[in-house]
């Protein structure tokens, strides 16, 4: 077990920077997820941690040891690859035993530990099979088995469950989280799926264009995004954005849109600071922070027209057309509105966000 410090790390491919001045500290024993769309530099970061890519600039430390110049084999990390990377010509047993055998560990111990790992992952009955005789989920368990069998300092998981079907993925999320809690080993888990990151990680590092956007707990990332990009990337269905202007109306400061004028809460006025008065901002509100009704409610409401309803079992998503844009609302399946009918939206102002229209940083 070890803590991981990534200090001012850059990665260049030729002239193109893939990772820009990255700073992350993963506490010992934590489950850290690096989240971002493809091409954001998350895999490069992981490969630098594993030693499969050189670090262009900066340092990576495991505890206090600088590991920049260590070969992968000397870093004592275990990695699970997106495509499993099992050895096709070896049995499941030999696959899992491989890291131990490379370390010349006594064969009786190897047998013991492989069996223990296989039992933990419920693949003990598959030990004599070859990888091509396994299903995707089983292959993935073998790959995890190969990682956990030797109790490394650090686990690196590179989108390990991206290729599984949705149901199995949901199941494996729980399994991997439980496994990490049981073993207590520091884990860095790269994914593009925000649901995986939110559901499993202790801390999430959101990356975009090679830069760290935000570091925080899943709830911080979800509830207090630092900029519009993070707010839009995290959360499913995605956050609604509306371009508004900030203006004064009597004693209130309001967000004005073509369709509506909604006053800010008292505390929010100070956060938005005077300079943006009169300027354009982007209002962000998640579908579940909006409520929809067919009658006009008393307080400030947004008027729109139902565009389409999507029933998702336990929830219903309603797309509402405002004059020039569309917003999504999450409501209960009992909602009776039909497409084309007028409706009214109320914003939960405790849960809305205002972002700068230029650089996208969050005022709140």
């Amino acid at each position: 077990m070890a803590s991981v410090t990534i200090k001012n790390v850059w990665k260049y491919y030729g002239e193109t920077p893939a990772v820009k001045d990255l700073n992350i500290f993963c506490p010992d024993g934590s489950f850290v997820s690096i989240l971002g769309p493809s091409g954001c530099g998350k895999s490069s970061t992981m490969r630098m941690l594993a030693g499969l890519e050189h670090i262009s600039a900066g340092d990576i430390l495991f505890d206090d040891q600088r590991i920049n110049d260590l070969a992968p084999k000397d870093r004592d990390v275990a990695m699970v690859f997106e495509n499993y990377a099992l050895y096709p010509h070896k049995s499941v047993f030999d696959n899992i035993a491989n890291p131990l055998r490379l370390r010349k560990i006594n064969e009786t111990v190897v047998k013991e530990r492989v069996t223990a790992a296989a039992t933990l992952l419920e693949i003990a009955h598959l030990l004599n099979r070859r990888p091509h005789e396994l299903s995707g989920g089983q292959k993935q368990r073998v790959a995890i088995g190969r990682a956990i069998v030797r109790e490394p300092k650090l686990f690196l998981f590179d989108e390990p469950i991206a290729h599984l079907d949705a149901k199995l993925r949901a199941h494996m999320r729980g399994e991997i989280k439980h496994l990490q809690r049981t073993l207590g080993t520091t884990m860095i888990y790269v994914t593009h799926d925000q649901l995986e990151a939110l559901s499993m990680a202790d801390y999430i590092a959101v990356m975009h264009d090679g830069e760290l956007q935000q570091w925080g707990t899943p709830s911080e990332i979800f509830n207090k995004p630092v900029n519009a990009w993070v707010a839009g990337f995290v959360g499913e269905p995605a956050m609604n954005f509306l371009t508004c202007s900030v203006t004064s109306r009597g004693d209130d400061v309001v967000l004005r849109h073509r369709n509506f004028e909604i006053p800010l809460l008292a505390g929010q006025v100070s956060q938005i600071n005077g300079s943006s008065q009169g300027g354009a901002v982007r209002m962000g509100v998640r579908p579940d922070a909006l409520s929809i009704s067919m009658e006009r409610p008393d307080d400030a409401a947004i008027q729109g027209e139902i565009f389409v309803n999507e029933l998702l079992g336990g929830d219903m998503l309603v797309d509402v057309s405002l004059e020039d844009c569309r917003v999504r609302v999450k409501t209960s399946p009992e909602f009776a509105g039909k497409p084309g009918e007028p409706c009214y939206l109320t914003v939960n102002r405790q849960k809305w966000h205002v972002f700068d229209s230029q650089d996208g940083h969050a005022y709140f």
Partner: protein, 292 residues
């Protein structure tokens, strides 16, 4: 890569085509197998019997061909009067030695060309295969001169070196394709698991085994069947089977029986090799080309 049943429907044309293809296959079999049959039979015949042939068009007289008293005297003459055992050993050492050396250096070079990016890689690779483009005859004289000044003419190491010169580019070319099809992630997993780069390279060798197998066969066939190098560079001390067979043709006496027996002795090991790795060879030659 499994072949699939293709639905086909009978038309007059396909019926004719089917019969035509059967006729073609039969003719092709006769064309390819008859020389071997004649060679094999003649090697067990006395010279007089061997030349007893029915007249052209006399199909009833074909029995004459099979009427003979088997004799091993031609084989005796090869192994007792001549030292064909030595020539077989020379052929085996030259072909096997060059195959082993080519596989070792070829797989190392192919792996590097497949995995490592460096400046001028494409040019280097082209240069390596371009060495195969010059006809052997064109380089024979300079090569002979070089080999003579190194005292390699007439020695087995010289012959092995000559074959390797021509087999190695071929090995690199074939094996690079096979390495290209092995996912990087497998070696990377090995290295993270605790392997050195060289151990990681060794660990993926089983995945290119079909390529290595195919190459070894082609390499051995090239050396085994070669006459030119063997006659010029190997002449004297490193006489191989084709050269020794050629020497059975003497100005005053062509030893047909012994030549037939030498042909059998030369052919059988390669046939055996082909049978043993037939399956390997076919998958090997196609597997590199098809991405899974």
């Amino acid at each position: 890569m499994a072949s699939r049943d293709v639905v086909s429907y009978e038309t007059p044309f396909t019926r004719i085509a089917r019969y035509a293809s059967i006729v073609f296959v039969v003719l092709y079999l006769v064309w390819t197998l008859l020389p071997f049959l004649v060679m094999f039979m003649s090697s067990f015949k006395d010279l007089l019997e061997a030349f007893k042939l029915p007249a052209v068009g006399d199909w009833s007289g074909i029995g004459i061909f099979f009427e003979f008293t088997p004799t091993l005297k031609h084989y005796r003459s090869l192994f007792v009067d001549n030292s064909f055992a030595t020539y077989i050993a020379n052929s085996l050492i030259a072909a096997g030695g060059s195959a082993v050396i080519s596989v070792i250096f070829g797989s190392l070079a192919a792996y590097s060309l497949s995995r490592v990016d460096f400046r001028g890689k494409q040019d280097l690779f082209f240069w390596i295969i371009s060495t195969r483009m010059a006809p052997v005859v064109a380089v024979m004289v300079p090569l002979y001169s070089i080999f003579r000044s190194l005292d390699l003419v007439g020695t087995l190491p010289g012959l092995i070196l000559a074959y390797t010169t021509f087999n190695l580019p071929f090995a690199i070319w074939i094996l690079k394709g096979f390495f290209d099809n092995v996912p990087f992630a497998i070696e990377e997993a090995q290295m993270v698991d605790g392997a050195t780069r060289f151990q990681a390279f060794r660990s993926i060798l089983p995945l290119v085994a079909p390529g290595i197998g195919a190459f070894v066969v082609l390499c051995i066939l090239f050396a085994w069947n070669d006459f030119l190098f063997a006659a010029i560079i190997g002449s004297g001390g490193a006489k191989t089977l084709p050269v020794a067979t050629r020497e059975l043709v003497q100005p005053q006496n062509i030893q047909w029986g012994a030549i037939m027996a030498a042909g059998v002795v030369t052919t059988l090991p390669m046939m055996a090799l082909g049978l043993v790795i037939r399956k390997y060879l076919v998958t090997g030659l196609t597997m590199g080309a098809v991405k899974e």
